[in-house]
């Protein structure tokens, strides 16, 4: 990168500035490249496509199709000089990259097209051929431009018209003639969700809007939320080719960050209170060991994504677990913090199943009800999770397919345990040299906070049990004093003692209530956050995994390159082509994985910030609630003792 930027200061800064193409373009191009390489290697490329739609959602892209069509070309031309050359400088001159790049736009388009037209498969071929030419152009241009100081722009100026023309020609000649136009117009209208296109297109027309916005937001955040380091990187990459594109990012990392924070806040405040969820009426269904508790999940919403404003469904505990499984499978690998549900409790549930009206089982059910409610509220509070079709289905659909994997200690649970074990091992083996101080510090913070919260949880737990003990002892004392009062032969004293017994009875109630508050308001909050911190750590792990994948790909690429060099040296042209293909494939993977890593990093960052805000809000709310409960019981205490005082004074 550094090398490329040295070589290539921007040639037409003014023009580019005026164009002021959003930074998103940059994303687009890179992703495009990924896609391309992905196709070559016959790999699925759903995730990288995401930013596309963001680009297309960007009004600028709609300004002119030409511009936007030209973009990919430009991007691609920029690509070799940026990313790969950074990593594989020595090979830069070989001309491998430009070739790839030349292919990029073509692939990009051909990739996009399948979404709209089934024909695209056919169309992509001729295009490719066509582009076979353009790469040549590109290629021939590229060395030149590299010699010059402003290669990208030149590239753009020189080769991309060719490219574009070619592309047009391809479009003209190919069956999917109108493809580019269609593509863009369609995308600007429907803003097709290319992110995980499979599911969305098939299922959620309604969703797509939401999701598209989301993607857009994500993309913005991605750029601006990046660590200063990353930002600089993107700046470096973007500047030479299109200084304007980096405008948003160029605002400076800090500023950008602040901005996105505001955005986040807006986003949050917007979707607050649009959805109220309550869980009520726990009800035992069935008998014996097959019995289970069903809960009424009521939703009140003004969100247009739901069919009606209020609706109610009945769900059982395993449904909640099932929801979590689904969400976690889909989102946690992207670095999202998926709120974990309360744990299964065999003991508690067995009590409920067996016991009829045991107070402890009543408490258990209430505790579970409350924690399920909090769990669900956390899920819908999450702007991205709320968009998930499974969440909607969970809230809306009358009958939910039975969640299977959640049965206690089932095979799935065992598998999960094994997975966790392997994760732990790989965690130990992966040594990530953290490039980003922010993550390093945050992870440390999270870990120590986890420790502290656990400690606090233990202490508050013992507070709860001590207070319960106090309540029991007070009750026993009250009885004893009542007896003493009945034995007392002084009438006034006897009366006062029995009053004291009554007073202590009331105080016992107070202690008991307070113990309940200690538990529900304080302990449960801590338990929730201990679980949530686990999820936060999980998202950090996902980031590390993605980093590892990227590193692995880089190592492989390096090996491939060495192999190629050997082949070159050994002068074996027959195998050379294959080697080149492989290198191309792996280069694509490297870029793809790097992108992925950056995306995951950005998501984790965003998520952690979101999490912290939510935590602060939650804690504040609960602390006040807790203190108010203490206040109330103290006020009651005053009343009780003040009522007793005259009785004591009446003793004579």
């Amino acid at each position: 990168m550094a090398a490329s930027s040295e070589r290539s200061p921007p040639p037409f800064p003014d023009a580019e500035d005026q164009e002021s193409e959003p930074a998103l373009r940059d994303e687009d191009s890179d992703e495009g490249a990924d896609i391309f390489l992905g196709t070559v290697s016959r790999k699925p490329f759903s995730p990288p496509a995401a930013p596309h739609s963001a680009v297309f959602g960007d009004p600028l892209s709609n300004i002119s199709k030409q511009e936007s069509t030209s973009n990919p070309a430009k991007q691609s031309s920029k690509l070799p000089s940026d990313v790969p050359c950074d990593i594989f400088d020595p090979l830069h001159g070989t001309g491998m990259e430009p070739k790839d790049d030349g292919k990029n736009p073509a692939e990009l388009r051909s990739e996009e097209r399948p979404k709209d037209e089934p024909l695209s498969v056919a169309s992509s071929k001729p295009k490719k051929d066509l582009f076979e030419d353009s790469p040549e152009d590109l290629f021939s241009e590229l060395p030149k431009t590299k010699a010059k100081t402003k290669p990208q722009m030149d590239l753009f100026g020189d080769s991309s018209p060719d490219l574009f023309m070619d592309a047009k020609a391809a479009a003209d000649t190919g069956p999917g003639r109108n493809a580019p136009a269609d593509l863009f117009s369609e995308e600007s209208v429907a803003t097709t969700t290319s992110k995980s296109a499979k599911s969305n297109i098939s299922a959620n027309g309604v969703h797509s809007d939401e999701e598209e916005q989301d993607i857009f937001a994500e993309a913005t955040v991605e750029l601006s939320l990046d660590s200063p380091h990353n930002n600089r990187k993107t700046l470096d990459t973007t500047k030479p080719s299109e200084p304007a594109s980096s405008l948003s990012a160029a605002a400076g990392s800090s500023k950008a960050q602040a901005k996105t924070l505001e955005e986040l806040e807006e986003e949050e405040s917007e979707d607050k209170f649009e959805l109220n969820i309550s869980i009520t009426n726990p009800e035992k269904v069935g008998d014996g060991m097959n019995a289970y508790m069903a809960y009424k999940v009521s939703t009140q919403t003004t969100l247009p994504m739901f069919r009606s404003k209020t609706f109610t469904v009945r769900r059982r505990f395993s449904d909640f677990l099932g929801l979590y499984e689904k969400l976690s499978e889909k989102h946690s690998q992207n670095g999202y913090i998926v709120p974990p549900p309360p744990e299964k409790s065999l003991l508690g549930m067995t009590k409920v199943k067996v016991g009829k009206d045991d107070p402890s089982s009543g408490e258990f059910v209430e505790r579970r009800r409350a924690s399920l409610e909090r769990y669900l509220q956390r899920v819908v509070c999450h702007p991205s999770l709320l968009q998930d079709p499974d969440v909607r289905e969970f809230l809306e659909r009358e009958e939910l397919p039975r969640a299977v994997n959640t049965q206690a200690l089932s095979g799935a649970g065992f598998l999960k345990m094994i997975n966790k074990a392997t994760d732990a091992v790989s965690k130990m083996t992966i040594k990530m040299n953290e490039s980003d101080v922010w993550f390093e510090e945050k992870l440390q913070e999270v870990e120590s906070e986890d420790q502290q919260l656990r400690k606090l949880h233990a202490v508050v737990d013992s507070l709860v049990s001590h207070r319960k003990e106090l309540s029991v002892n007070t009750a026993v004392f009250a009885k004893s004093v009542a007896m003493l009062g009945s034995s007392e032969d002084n009438t006034a004293l006897s009366r006062a003692l029995s009053q004291l017994a009554e007073l202590e009875d009331k105080i016992e109630q107070l202690h008991q209530e307070q113990a309940g508050n200690d538990f529900f308001v304080f302990t449960e909050l801590l338990a929730d956050y201990i679980r949530l911190l686990g999820a936060v750590r999980g998202s950090f792990d996902q980031r590390m995994k993605s980093w590892q994948r990227w590193q692995d790909a880089q190592t492989t690429l390096q090996k491939k390159r060495e192999a190629e060099a050997k082949l070159l040296w050994a002068n074996k042209p027959d195998k050379l082509q294959q080697a080149k293909d492989e290198i191309a494939e792996w280069e694509g993977k490297v870029t793809q994985y790097e992108r992925e890593f950056e995306r995951v990093s950005a998501t984790v960052r965003k998520e952690v910030i979101r999490f912290e805000k939510e935590k602060a809000r939650d804690f504040k709310k609960q602390i006040i609630k807790y203190l108010e409960s203490l206040l109330q019981s103290q006020q009651q205490l005053i009343k009780y003792w003040e009522a007793f005082l005259p009785e004591a004074k009446a003793i004579a």
Binding site: E449, L456, H466, N473, S480, L493, K620, I638
Partner: protein
């Protein structure tokens, strides 16, 4: 080693017995010294009585000296008709010491601050036990001094005046066993003489009342002890909560920091209040019950002595009848019978007085302590309320 200032002690004086404030003989324990298991009390006397050589003097006394004084009083035949004030219980520093030991073991698991606070708390507890000990010893002497008969006791006066160590002989094993045996005999005797027909309704009533009351109050005492201990545990938990919250807030750097700070602060303040509530309950309620458990035992002892005298009297009557029948040793039997009767009547008379005054004393003490406890509870609760209100206010505003 802790010593106690006079003013604190008067503030803490909880077990009030109805002491008539006779200025002719004023006793207090202004100072005490704790050396390992031994507690040395400084007994200070101020008097206008001519029996004493000086108007004011202080002597060092140990717990065992108090026990000796009590035992001699109990054994004095003349005082059989009196309720001998219960001996002060042996100083018990075991529980705070044990806790201190435990705390030392758990030091590693706590933050430094937490440890310091726990230690302070234990030291306070230790001091409280110490003060309580001093207090019960003082009350014992004050009850003696305010008693019209017992205050004239020669042993009591020696106890107050003799400025050397009394070095009363500690009970040896045989005597300890003897005491135990005596108790056995006494209980057996109690059963034996329970068959004796009571001649006086007053005593009959007192007996049933005291027996009943004694079991009830014993029960209440243990229950109250448990309750106050549980309360103390809750207050101690507050310390840990405050300490951990504090260390969490130290690491936090978001807006939450302020809240956690306040929250931790709140717990720290609340734990002091709760601690006071617990210790005041202990002092006003548990200690009262404890004292009267002992006092009632003393009253029961009086009843036993009277019942014994009654049994003796009846036996002497029988013996006299027998003697008259056999016309042998009639004079001696008559003499014996008259003595027994006199003794019994004297016992009954003074016993009646003592028991009546005991009743009055108990009611007054209960009143005083219950009123004080209610007032303290209200005070503490009000304190908590204002603390909590202030804290909630600031939290809401930030």
């Amino acid at each position: 080693m802790p010593t106690i200032s006079q003013e604190y002690k008067t503030a803490l004086r909880s077990v009030s017995v109805d002491l008539n404030n006779d200025v002719s003989l004023l006793i207090d324990i202004p100072d005490a010294l704790c050396e390992r298991d031994k507690v040395k009390f400084t007994v200070h006397t101020k008097t206008t009585l001519s029996v004493f050589q000086k108007p004011e003097f202080s002597v060092p006394r140990q717990h065992e000296d108090f026990i000796w004084l009590h035992d001699t009083l109990v054994e004095t035949e003349e005082y059989a008709g009196l309720i001998i004030p219960p001996a002060p219980p042996k100083p018990d520093f075991e529980s705070p010491r044990e806790k201190m030991h435990k705390l030392g073991e758990g030091e590693a698991t706590m933050t430094k601050e937490e440890y310091t606070k726990m230690k302070q708390e234990l030291e306070a507890e230790y001091l409280a036990v110490f003060k309580k000990t001093v207090q019960v010893h003082e009350v014992f002497l004050q009850r003696l001094s305010s008693h019209p008969v017992l205050s004239k006791d020669r042993n009591f006066q020696i106890f107050l005046e003799y400025d050397q160590d009394l070095s009363v002989r500690r009970k040896n094993a045989k005597e300890m066993f003897g005491g135990f045996f005596k108790n056995m005999v006494k209980s057996a005797d109690e059963v034996l003489i329970s068959g004796v027909k009571e001649v006086d309704d007053f005593f009959e009533q007192e007996k049933t009342f005291l027996l009943d009351y004694s079991t009830k109050i014993k029960d209440s005492t243990t229950k109250a002890e448990r309750m106050t201990r549980a309360h103390k545990n809750v207050a101690d938990d507050y310390i840990h909560v405050a300490a951990i919250l504090n260390s969490i807030s130290a690491e936090e750097n978001t807006a939450l920091k302020k809240h956690l700070d306040k929250f931790s602060d709140m717990f720290e303040k609340l734990r002091k209040v709760e601690g006071r509530v617990a210790s005041d309950q202990e002092l006003k309620l548990t200690e009262l019950l404890r004292y009267y458990t002992r006092d009632i035992q003393a009253a029961k002892d009086l009843l036993y002595r009277r019942a014994r005298a009654l049994a003796d009297y009846e036996n002497s009557n029988k013996a006299l009848d027998k003697a008259r029948l056999k016309s042998k040793d009639v004079a001696q039997a008559e003499d014996n019978q008259r003595q027994c009767m006199q003794k019994f009547e004297k016992l009954s008379e003074s016993g009646k007085k003592e028991l009546t005054s005991f009743k009055g004393r108990r009611v007054v003490a209960f009143r005083k302590n219950l009123v004080e406890m209610a007032e303290l509870e209200i005070k503490h609760a009000k304190n908590s309320v204002s603390l909590l209100q202030g804290c909630i206010e600031t939290l809401k505003n930030c």
